[in-house]
Structure formats: C-alpha cells, structure tokens
C-alpha cells in the first residue's frame, strides 16, 4: 500500500512536471532561458530559445537573447544568424546592431558598407510602405495636375518632391530587397572548405571559418551542395549542413 502510494505520487509529480514543462507559456520559457543565461549556463539556455523559435514564436528579444547566448558560448555563426533575424524585426535597435558588430568582428568579418547600414535602418516592409506612399502621393499630385491646370504652377514643386521621393524609395527598396530576399549562408562550423565543384572530390580553393557570411548564388538540384559568394568575390561550393541558410522572411 505504502509502495503503491509512493509510486502514484511519483507518477503524479512526473506528470505535473511534464505538463508544466509542456504547457509553459512562451513568456515563462523565455524567462527560464534568461535565468539560465544569467546563471552562466548559456549553453543550457540556447535550446530553450531555439525551441521557442521552432514553435513559431518570434520576437526581436528571443532572437537577440539567443544571439547573446550563442556569442557567449563561442558559436559566432549562430550568434550572427540570430542577430540578423533580430535586426530584421527591429532594424533600429542599437543593441542588436552593436552586438552583431561585435560578433562580426570576433568572426573576422568586416562591417557592412555605411550606405548599406543606413538602408537597413528601415525594414524591408517599411521601405515598401514608404515607396507605396510616395507612389500614391505622386499619383495624387499628378492627377491634380491633370484635373486642375490652373494650379499647375503650385503643384509643380510638390510633384517634383513626390517623384524624387518615389525614385529614392524605389531604388532603396530594390537594393534592400535584392540583399534581403536573396538567400544567405552563414558558416556555423569551425572551418569549412570551399570547393571548385559540388563534389567531395573537387579541389579546395578556399576555407571559411565560423561566422563567415556569404550569398547563395547557385544550388545543385535538390542536393545539399550550394555555391556561395562572399567578400572579395570569394566563392565556392559547400554543403549546406555546414552552416545556416538564411531565406527571405
């Protein structure tokens, strides 16, 4: 009787623990991961952040904290990926920018050009919205120009400004969309070999270390071989398992 009771109690406690774990809200899990991080158990906090993300819970804070944990754990590539996700969601957050810059510097990556940095102060959607409103205002002023010839002198400067805004925002949008919607690749293993062709037997033409960032320029059918190009046109074929593929959100 006593043994049965103990067994039942154990089962009950186990179930409670399991259900408690399973039913923990994202906020609780997030808090739990943060707590582990602050205790110095950064490696234990990483799976919890990842679990939140894989459960389709995304917020700049989750990605930022995951980036911090990876950075502290020496996983530079994973940290850069996490910070890049956080930056896409929160492009003007100076903390994300700062930590991403630190991660990139530790990985030996050069900082992106200044103009790119300025462009990324607005997210892709924000640039899209800006371009849309510029288009709408240009069309509106243009329509007035057509309908009210008497006000053409007054409208001419307004039309010029609208068209200028439209041209600038559209150009920025195109550049940013090309940059962000093209798949990227970040190395997450210690070192990878870039090969001349998509085969293990192809000669190695360069190596890349953890945290190196590339653009994906080609893929060999449905295989895991991808062609990547990075700084100074360093390119080669690698297996995608050696890093993280960044697709357009």
């Amino acid at each position: 009787m006593n043994r049965d009771l103990r067994f039942l109690l154990l089962v009950f406690l186990g179930l409670q623990a399991f259900l408690g774990q399973a039913c923990a809200s994202p906020a609780e899990r997030f808090h739990q991961a943060n707590h582990l991080y602050e205790q110095g158990k950064v490696r234990d906090s990483i799976p919890i952040y990842r679990e939140l993300i894989s459960s389709n819970y995304h917020s700049p804070s989750i990605h930022f904290n995951l980036g911090n944990a990876c950075l502290q754990a020496g996983q530079l590539g994973n940290a850069i990926v996490a910070y890049r996700h956080a930056l896409r969601m929160s492009p003007r957050d100076p903390k994300v920018r700062q930590n991403l810059a630190i991660a990139r510097e530790r990985a030996g990556q050069s900082a992106p050009p200044q103009w790119k940095s300025w462009l990324s102060y607005l997210s892709l959607n924000e640039w899209t919205a800006l371009a849309f409103f510029s288009l709408a205002s240009s069309c509106g002023v243009g329509a007035l120009w057509q309908l009210r010839p008497k006000f053409r002198e007054t409208l001419s400067s307004l039309l010029a400004v609208s068209l200028l805004c439209l041209a600038a925002s559209t150009a920025s949008l195109i550049v940013l969309a090309q940059d962000q919607m093209q798949p990227g690749f970040v190395v997450t293993t210690k070192e990878i070999s870039l090969r001349r062709g998509p085969f293990d037997e192809s000669p190695v033409i360069a190596t890349a270390t953890d945290g190196s960032e590339f653009r994906v320029t080609d893929q060999k059918g449905s295989s895991s071989w991808i062609e990547i190009t990075g700084e100074k046109n360093r390119s080669g074929w690698v297996q995608s398992k050696n890093g993280v593929l960044l697709y357009a959100p």
Partner: protein, 590 residues
C-alpha cells in the same frame, strides 16, 4: 692657567664623552652600512639536465660575511664544490664591494628542484636569500652528441615536452664554446609555436669532461598555436671557431661555423572543447583574480575606476579581459592594461586592467560579478576566477551634477565593438508571433499598389477623352462654319452671275471677315485689313498669302467707292477669294 689646573675627574669625564661619541659613530656607521647590505642568490643555468652541474651563487653586497655560508643539504641535489670571489667598484667616489660565494650544485632528481634560502650573517645581522627554483630535465635525445673537446656545440632544452595549445613553456639554447668567438644570437625553427623575446644571454664557465667550456645561455618563452606532434628546433648558431695553432699573441686562425642543435619532439594537446566557460578567452596557465573599485559612492554619470589584477603564471602579455555580463546599467569604457612585477620572460607576474565605468541608474547595488576563466594545464580543466562582490551606492545627479555621459579626461568612450561589452539580455519578451512574409511577396499588396496607379491612369484617360471630345466639337463647328462659308461663296458667285457688283464685293468682304474671325478667334465684325496685317504674320502665314489677303481687302475697299468693276475683274476676285479662303486654314496656327 685654567688648562693646566685641570682636575682628573674632569679629564675622565671628557674621555668618556669622546669614547661615547666614537662608539655612537661606529654604531651609526655599522647601522648605516647594514642598511645598504644586499644578499641575493642566483643559479646558472636555471634549466639543467639531470646530473649536470649548476652554479649557485650567493652574492653579498655592501658588507663582509661573518660566518661561513653553506647550502642546506637536500635529497634533490649534491653540492660538489665551493668557491669565493670578490668584486670592488667605485661609482662617484663611493666604493662598493661584492662577495660572490659560488657552489657547484648537481641536481640528481628530475622536475622542479628548489635551492632553499641560504643564511648569511653580515654586521651581526642575519639575512636570508630567496629560494631559487631549478628546472631539471632529462638528457635530451641527441642524434650526434658532441664528444668532449669539441670546439663548440649547441644544445636545445625545454622544461616540458607535453603541453597544451597556448600553454607557456621555457626554451633555452645553450651554446658551449671551448675555442671560439663572435657568437651570434641563435635562430630557432619554431613552426607551430610562438616565441617570446629572447633574453640577453648569460655566460658562465662549465667543465665538461675536463674541458673548461664557456656557456652562453639564451632563454625565451614559447607557446604552441596548434595541436599535434610538433617539432621545435633545431637551433642554429653562427660563430667563429679557432682552428690551428694560436700565435704568441693568443690569436689563432678563425673559421666561420654554423652549429645546429638537436630538434625536440613536442606533444601539443588541444584544449578540451567540453565545459568551456563563457568567459574563457584563451588564457592557459594558473591565475588569480582580484579587483577593487574607487569611488564606491558616486552620482549617476560619475566615473568609477575598476582596478582588476590577474596574477599568475602564463602568457600575461596576451591575456585579455573577457566580456562581462550584466553591465547594462553602466557605460563601460575601454580598459587600459599594464604588466606589473613580471619576470624577465613576462610569463609570471601580474597584469593590471584599469577599467572605467559610469553608472547610468541610481540606487544601492553591487557591481556585477566579474569573471575570468582559464585552462589549468596541471589540473587539466577549466577554472573560473570570480571577483568578490563590491557594494556601490549611486545617487541621483544634482542640478549641477555631471551629465550621464561625462567626457573623461584621456579616456574616449569605447567605440570598438571588440572592446565593448555586449549588450545584455532583453528581459521582456515583447510582441510574439509568427514571422510574416514581406509585403512585396503578398498579392494583395500589389493590388493595393496598383490602385493609385490605376486612379491616376483613369484621370489621365478622362482628361484626354475630354480633350478629344473638345477637339471633336471644334471640328464639328468648323464643318458647320465651312458649310456656311461655302453658302456665302455660292451667294458671291450668284451675285457675280447676276451682275450685282456691290453684292459681290460686300459678300466677299464678309466671307473674308468670317474666315479670319474664325481662325484668329475674334469677332468677324472686328476684322479689318490692319488687324489681318498685324495678326496673320504672327500666326505663321506666308507673305504671299498675306499679300493675297491684303489685295482682297483692297479690292473690296476700291469696289465700295467705284462700282465700275469689269466682269473679268469680278471673276478674278472670286477665284482669288476661293483660293485664299482655302489656304488660310492650312497656314494659320491656332
């Protein structure tokens, strides 16, 4: 008189005073001299092969030794002989003396052998030397061992052959010269290793197989940068060896020679990849962390100087302060690092970091914990040193208090990401949701984006449509006008056939007015020859046509005053009128 009548008791007192002063002066001299006494102990070389002799020298400076000096016996070494020498020097008229007591010590055990503190009595005071540590190693594997009497040879020694990546060990190149000169600094083949700065060589005499060699010892620190079975050395050294007979001046024939030592096989182990502390930045060795902060009672924005000292054995020059967590309530400036109390090879001592932080929030709090992790090659595991907590009281700034971002003299805010602490965790989850695709990839956005374009296009289309309609109406009016004009011309022809001269020119004048009025957009009644002359050239009418128009107006004027126009003239008038009216619409610009 007074002098001669001196009494004996006074003389005794005088003598006693003199003696007292003299003894006081003597004591003072002894005391002053005792203050300048220095007793030191050194060993040459400090790294030695087991059973080889080391010179252990106790130097007494500024005083005479009163009792015999002896090295305490130990099971780790045997004292095989002693010697003594003195050295005098005069600097700015001050003569100093040094007594060197040399002991031939032969270590008989491998490993770290300590030559203990030696007791020295000078001016009745007892002094102790500091203990000296010897690295006693096995005889290195030498493929071509030099035979006794070889004019010169080089030997390469290391204090350990099993090391971890990044672990500092000592390397010594020993150049033994029996008959040679002009020795150059040795070169060491060190692929896979990083050599520290090579020290100035130490020279002393060594007897090997009854041959008195001069030994030059070159020391350096080394650490490996990659794991695996690596080879250190060989060390090569260039010098001139004396060959042949030495002449009466003691000069022989010199032959340039390159000596090469044996290489050493090093087993370099990688650092463990498991349980690496987050604050580990690559330090390998043994260290202790201590820190202090001043001041600890500050106003928000005031600088607090953290003095962080990392003391121990390891590559002190390359040690970095790890990025610290939990400093988001402080602005952290770049740390200044200095080496303190290090040995000659800079592998033992203290590295001091001076870090300035400024609190951004008020309140009584502890400074965030400070951590420094290193790998201990003796324990073969990572160790984490943590600074003890420091209480900090931060008060709100007053009206004239410092701004939150004061310009600290000589310290620029750290803008280099590598030196800046990373921003700490975000405590709030914020809005959570699935990742949404960009607007550009959503069809409804393109439909929405098309709306203003379509609206604009519709406005343009409508305007154009209106313009076209207006042009159509004008065309329609023109057709109706042309019909009227034709009817008018027919009336002119009928009047001409009826012989009604006045009617011909009157109707012709009217037709001309109508046409020009329509083309110049003026009332037909207002059209005169003068207006036609003025307006038609502006509207692009050729001079020939203008002349015809003027001629027609003139004929009409003439006919009004003289009605005796011949039928031929009337006919010509009608023909000219028809032709002019037909040409005018083609030449007059709107």
């Amino acid at each position: 008189m007074l002098m001669s009548s001196s009494n004996p008791s006074m003389n005794a007192s005088w003598l006693a005073r003199v003696l007292l002063i003299l003894s006081a002066a003597l004591l003072l001299r002894v005391e002053l001299a005792a203050q300048n006494v220095k007793v030191t102990a050194t060993a040459r070389p400090q790294m030695v092969v087991v059973n080889e002799v080391v010179e252990f020298i106790v130097t007494v400076e500024g005083g005479a030794v009163q009792r015999n000096i002896s090295v305490p016996p130990s099971g780790d070494y045997i004292v095989t002989g002693t010697g003594r020498s003195s050295e005098y020097s005069s600097v700015n008229g001050v003569i100093t003396s040094k007594d060197h007591h040399t002991f031939q010590v032969r270590p008989i055990k491998k490993g770290k052998v300590q030559l203990p503190a030696v007791e020295v009595w000078v001016y009745g005071k007892r002094y102790f030397t500091t203990p000296v540590l010897l690295d006693v190693i096995d005889e290195p594997e030498v493929t071509n061992a030099p035979t006794p009497g070889t004019p010169a040879f080089v030997r390469l020694l290391v204090n350990k052959t099993n090391v971890y990546v990044g672990e500092v060990f000592l390397v010594e190149v020993q150049l033994y010269v029996l008959s040679g000169q002009d020795a150059q600094y040795p070169q060491l083949d060190s692929e896979g290793f990083v050599l520290g700065t090579m020290q100035q060589p130490l020279q002393h005499s060594v007897v090997l197989g009854q041959y008195p060699y001069q030994m030059l010892s070159f020391k350096s620190s080394v650490h490996a940068v990659k794991a695996g079975e690596l080879q250190l050395g060989p060390a090569t050294c260039n010098l001139n060896i004396v060959v042949g007979r030495v002449n009466i001046f003691g000069i022989g024939q010199l032959r340039p020679t390159t000596l090469k030592s044996n290489p050493i096989k090093m087993n370099v182990l990688p650092l463990p990849t498991r349980d690496v502390p987050p604050s580990f930045t690559g330090a390998v060795g043994r260290f202790q962390l201590s820190w202090s902060a001043t001041p600890t009672n500050v106003v928000v924005g005031d600088p607090v100087t953290l003095s962080i000292r990392i003391t121990g054995d390891g590559p002190l020059e390359t040690i970095q302060l790890p990025p610290q967590l939990g400093w988001e309530d402080f602005r952290v400036y770049a740390a200044k690092a200095t080496l303190e109390d290090t040995d000659a090879l800079k592998v033992s001592g203290t590295k001091r970091f001076e870090q300035i932080v400024t609190p951004l929030k008020e309140g009584s709090t502890h400074l965030p914990p400070l951590e420094f992790a290193y790998f201990d090659p003796e324990l073969k595991r990572y160790q984490v040193e943590r600074g003890s907590p420091i209480q900090l009281k931060v008060t709100a700034p007053g009206s004239a208090a410092a701004a939150p971002n004061p310009q600290l003299p000589g310290v620029a805010p750290d803008t280099q990401p590598a030196e800046v602490q990373i921003f700490a965790l975000k405590p709030h989850l914020g809005a959570v949701g699935p990742l949404s695709s960009p607007l550009l990839s959503r069809p409804w956005f393109w439909i929405l984006a098309a709306v203003p374009v379509l609206l604009f296009a519709s406005v343009v289309a409508r305007t154009k449509w209106n313009e076209r309609n207006k042009a159509g109406a004008t065309r329609f009016d023109r057709q109706r006008f042309q019909q009227e004009l034709n009817q008018h011309l027919n009336s002119v022809v009928q009047a001409q056939q009826a012989g009604n001269v006045a009617e011909v020119y009157s109707l012709g004048f009217r037709a001309l007015q109508l046409e020009l009025g329509a083309l110049l957009q003026r009332p037909a009644m207002s059209i005169t020859a003068a207006i036609a002359e003025e307006e038609l050239p502006r509207r692009g009418v050729s001079p020939e046509l203008l002349h015809q128009v003027q001629d027609l107006f003139q004929q009409c004027d003439e006919a009004r005053f003289s009605l005796n126009q011949s039928p031929g003239t009337q006919e010509e008038f009608v023909t000219q009128l028809r032709s002019t009216l037909a040409q005018l619409p083609t030449e007059v610009r709107p």
